[in-house]
């Protein structure tokens, strides 16, 4: 599986582009990193790839997944997972139901789906927490639950938006290894934006820097 970005740039209304047109090819199991100071449009880049651009933003260029053009698809049809720094767990659902929400339709039957969720919880070190209120989880637990929810949807690529920045140093390394190991195991491409150089170094993948564009400065 590959994630391929060609000539992608984004601008807001009639303002100049946020960054120069971007070309990038991420192979399956690889984690590419985009670095840059805050406000340069890192999150907007991920929004463009995932199809979540807010009102007023326009993108040019193309996004291909496994060679298929997905630029025109709505976000729910792109099969691109998304991880935020705040885990964005649904506050009205239990931890397990959050995962069940993500679990792909291909897993059928009540028992099978429940088992899949329980297995994922087990993998994330959250065994027995199906009924827990997500608001009562620790930061690390929340991040792991969010990763499991994303992976259960069986994504063909994953976008990571500063996923570890809310965690303390010890948890950060642990969560990094946990996340990258899962991405490698599934052999899906991943794109991460971060301002922590240690994140980029840990991936072993290509590192791109989005250092602002000449038009703006």
């Amino acid at each position: 599986m590959t994630l391929e970005i060609a000539g992608l740039s984004v601008r807001y209304l009639n303002e100049p582009s946020l960054f120069a047109p971007l070309d990038l090819l991420v192979a399956g199991g690889e984690v590419a990193t985009v670095m840059g100071p805050s406000g340069v449009g890192k999150s907007t880049l991920l929004d463009a790839i995932g199809g979540h651009l807010a009102a007023g933003f326009t993108m040019t260029g193309s996004v291909r997944l496994d060679g298929f053009e997905i630029t025109h698809l709505p976000p729910e049809a792109r099969r691109i997972g998304l991880m935020f720094q705040d885990a964005a767990l649904f506050p009205h659902l239990s931890v397990g139901d959050n995962l069940a929400f993500g679990l792909a339709r291909e897993t059928r039957g009540r028992a099978a789906r429940r088992a899949a969720v329980e297995a994922a919880l087990e993998q994330a070190g959250l065994a027995g927490l199906y009924e827990r209120d997500p608001a009562t989880l620790s930061g690390g637990q929340r991040a792991r639950a969010a990763l499991m929810r994303t992976l259960l949807a069986d994504p063909k690529a994953v976008l990571l938006d500063e996923p570890f920045s809310r965690l303390d140093a010890a948890r950060r390394a642990e969560m990094r290894n946990f996340t990258f190991a899962h991405i490698r195991k599934r052999a899906i491409p991943a794109l991460m934006v971060t301002h922590d150089p240690a994140d980029g170094a840990a991936t072993g993948g290509p590192v791109l820097s989005l250092g602002g564009d000449p038009a703006k400065r």
Binding site: L53, F57, P74, A88, F90, D133
Partner: protein, 582 residues
Amino acid sequence: MGAALHAVSGVASSSPPGRALRLVVLLAVVGGVILPILAGLWATARAGFAILPAIGAETLSLEPWRMLAGLPGLGTSLKLTLLTGLGATALALILAGGTCAAVHGRMSIRAGGRMLTPFLAAPHAAVAIGLAFVLSPSGWIARALAPLAGWDRPPMLVTVNDPWGGALILGLLVKEVPFLLLVMLSALSQIAVARHIAVGRALGYGRGIVWVKVILPQVWPLVRLPVMVVLAYSLSVVDMALILGPSNPPTLAVMLLRLFSAPDTAMLLPASAGAVLQGGLVALSFGLLLLVERGVKRIGLWWLRRGGRGLSAEPGLWLTTGVTASVMVLGALGMLALLVWSLAWRWSWPGMLPESWSLGAWTRPGTGWGRALWHTVLLAFATTGLALALAVAWLEGEDRARMRRARWAEALIYLPLLVPQIAFLYGLNVLFLRIGISGGMAAVIWAQALFVFPYVMIALSDPWRALDPGLPRAAAALGAGPWRRLWAVKLPVLLTPLMTAAAIGVAVSVAQYLPTLFMGAGRIATLTTEAVTLASSSDRRVTGVYATLQAGLPFAAYAAAFLIPALAHRNRRGLLGGEGAP
């Protein structure tokens, strides 16, 4: 690589279902809310110029206006209308502004909201009846004064229905000061109040002066529309004016109601002319408001530029707070008086409480209140359900189009609240008669929904936009389409504001008097229509039952709006105590 370069905008990528939803909403709002109002205004205006085929009037003439001008007491009536309408609005604005300045930062917004809720929930008619019970010469105030004043019987004073409209203004204040307070509090949450006060005080201004010179001018643009709603309402109120206002001559709206329900159908023509006049009066008052706004701005800037720091505004602010508190205490006493009277058996002068109590008035639902209660509940559920569905569809349509609301759309929402009811409801009923639904439940539901929808929409809009955009986004990234995002994520997370909006809808529906009376053709009795009719009767026990029930329904709705989310989310800390302050 780079084979195809596509331009994709955030708006254009929204799918056709989103467009279909927006189209349905637009049609429903225009066809269901805006057109009926415009058509009602049009039909009323035609009748005002002597075109009402239903009674055989078919030639354009000014005769209705001549008849209207010839009515005894019209001049006094107009003066009274302006006095009570403008007076109540100005006083409410001053009291709410001053109170806001005095208590903001000293009382949490949640606590303030909780205190205001009962006043917002109580229907106008119930407040008026309660106030009449308290203020009347045989009411609690006179009873409390009796030993001091040496009154051995109720004094011969005109305290309710006074010819100057004082009681009516007081009644309007009980409802409108809390409303404006709530609106101001929510406007203040959008302003960096604490920082601006700190800056102002560091420059040598007292706290009160900073409020008057710096904070309130920032609040004004955010509350201008609600103030206009209050102004339009105060100038054209019917139910409160029937109960508390002067009766001979009454305010214009009450005079028109009498003409519209006169046995002589020829009176419909001057009544319609009067309805046009009522509309014009409100429009003129809006113009006056804009003039005053300009004048105050100019004077205010002159005052501001002088840079005076000496005067302290604090005593003035505390005075307004004191008056506000007294108004609210009177309102609360009125509510209590309703309940006490409904349970009283023997209550002689000058006792503060009845000598004997009885459930008699409550134990005979067959005498009428059972049926009125049923109608009221049915109407409340139907109108609130419709309004909530339309509001959710509208907001969801905005989300899918990723659009901010245009100013004209915001104005459409407020339109039903800015046009006086009596200026278009008669004309609308003429149209309802023509399509054959007048006098039925459907007509009343439709007419009430015109006023329920704006409030539900306004109550739901801010919390809807405050929803964390990460949640629907995360759901989309997990493969959930727009409908699943709505049903499985947005609506459950927004349960608290949805229930609050529903409670407001119920309160507005229960309070409707004129739409129920006109569209129901007098055949659909609700707690409100019955309570207003009974208010002038001598049996306070029965009146007390109706008014207590009338006030009780919205209270129950607010209680449910508090309890349902608390129960549904009892194990969800992230949703408790978050959004949804009342």
